[in-house]
């Protein structure tokens, strides 16, 4: 489901298998446990790279699981999935190190959210798209999705195109829209660029707690909705 690997200061979280990496109860547990491990092993100079195998980064929540117990349970199961996703977003926002999403395939709905919950988003420039599919499916957005979009995508027209037009955005356009940091030719070169960036950031040897507090302060609305408080003072290196 997902693997965690450490190479020097860099942690690699990989969504494994050539499938849609649908976010359901099992994958959530797997990711949470990996992030907990990353957090416990963090040192100044650590960095996280999240990537995936195959054609998909993640195609969103496991709606098949949500539908599996019959239509009367769908809403409850969907709610449950959205509740399970919150701690993962919270963990990423409070991770004491820089985080980089190497988006090597399609990222839709919660998969798109997962990607932009990282500090840096690098993306493969081919037919892969970022896509908030909710409007097409007939679902509205949970409050923390809306808050994250507002916080990460500053241009109102870009936000409108993503959320109110359900636009399928390829890497180069995503860069122009300010959603993605850079576009790369292949999955390998995307990961390579992520590693290069991670090494640069790692070399700054930042205090992870300070990093996390600054990051949280930059996204006050999302943090509020996720129940993340932040502290003003950590040990300064003066």
């Amino acid at each position: 489901m997902c693997t965690l690997e450490q190479r020097g200061n860099l942690f690699f979280l990989t969504l494994t298998g050539d499938n849609e990496h649908r976010l359901g109860p099992t994958l959530f547990d797997s990711i949470r446990s990996a992030l907990a491990q990353v957090k416990s092993q963090a040192t100044p100079g650590s960095a996280l790279i999240t990537t995936a195998q195959g054609k998909f980064f993640s195609n969103g929540l496991d709606l098949a699981w949500a539908q599996a117990a019959g239509s009367s349970s769908f809403r409850d199961r969907l709610s449950h999935l959205l509740d399970c996703f919150k701690p993962i977003v919270a963990d990423l926002l409070s991770l004491p190190m820089p985080t980089i999403a190497a988006v090597s395939g399609h990222a839709a709905a919660a998969g798109f959210m997962l990607a932009i919950s990282h500090d840096y988003v690098l993306m493969k420039n081919d037919r892969s798209v970022l896509y908030m599919s909710e409007l097409d499916i007939g679902l509205s957005f949970p409050d923390y999705f809306m808050a994250m979009m507002k916080s990460k995508i500053s241009d109102p027209a870009a936000r409108r195109d993503v959320m109110l037009r359900a636009k399928k955005v390829k890497a180069e356009e995503a860069v122009r829209m300010g959603i993605v940091d850079s576009a790369h030719d292949s999955a390998e070169s995307t990961v390579k660029a992520a590693v290069l960036l991670a090494e640069q950031l790692s070399g700054r040897k930042w205090n992870g707690e300070v990093y996390a507090e600054i990051r949280k302060a930059m996204h006050p609305e999302v943090c509020g909705l996720l129940g993340l408080s932040h502290r003003a003072v950590v040990a300064p290196r003066l």
Binding site: L135, D136, L139, M146, D155, P156, R160, M163, L164
Partner: protein, 241 residues
Amino acid sequence: MCSLEKRGNIFILTLTGPGEHRLNPTLLDAISAALSRVRAESSMSSALITTAEGKFFSNGYDLAWASASGVFLDRSKLMSSKLRSLVADLISLPMPTIAAISGHCSAAAAIIALSHDYVLMRNDRGFIYMPELDIGIKIPDWWFVALIRSKIGAPRSQRELMLRAAKLTAHDALNWGIIDSAHNSTEETVRAAIRFGDELVGRKWDGHVYAQIRMRMLADVFDKIGCDESVGEVSHTRSRL
């Protein structure tokens, strides 16, 4: 004052006549009535296009009417209240909305245009213009500014519009990220709006979900649309401070 036409699933609301389409209570009521009809008559995936005849899209509030002796504040309050109701209507409309700016578009009319999801404009004549600074009237910051900031992200673009009172051609507005596209004439602008409207209608979105998403995106505006401090309509929350 305004007409409502339906072409397939596209509603076209037109401010009629050759004049300035000043937003006095009568015109504001007519537009609101048209929007009620749009809601009532839309059965499935629809879209709204708002445009106007003549040289002006609209030149804003009817200040001449408001300036009759002794009634300025009351009349301003009335127009503000009706405008806010209209904008709330537009923002909660269960379908995509497209403004096809057909000429000069000032002040409160610019607010109406910006209340649409997409803004197209003719590039051969007409300005978008917030004249408040030039005529010495404060821009209602509680809700005009909230709307402008929700739709125009770049601080410099906001400054051009509000703090420089720039008269923006379609070309300027496009560069500043204020409109979505510019077209050669009113007819071309409306045609492009219809083509685009058809495309959006073809997505077969659930209008209520669409409206919900839009309202959440514009939550800041909704929070503030109940009041307008420039005509003395004060928020009860604020007055508790």
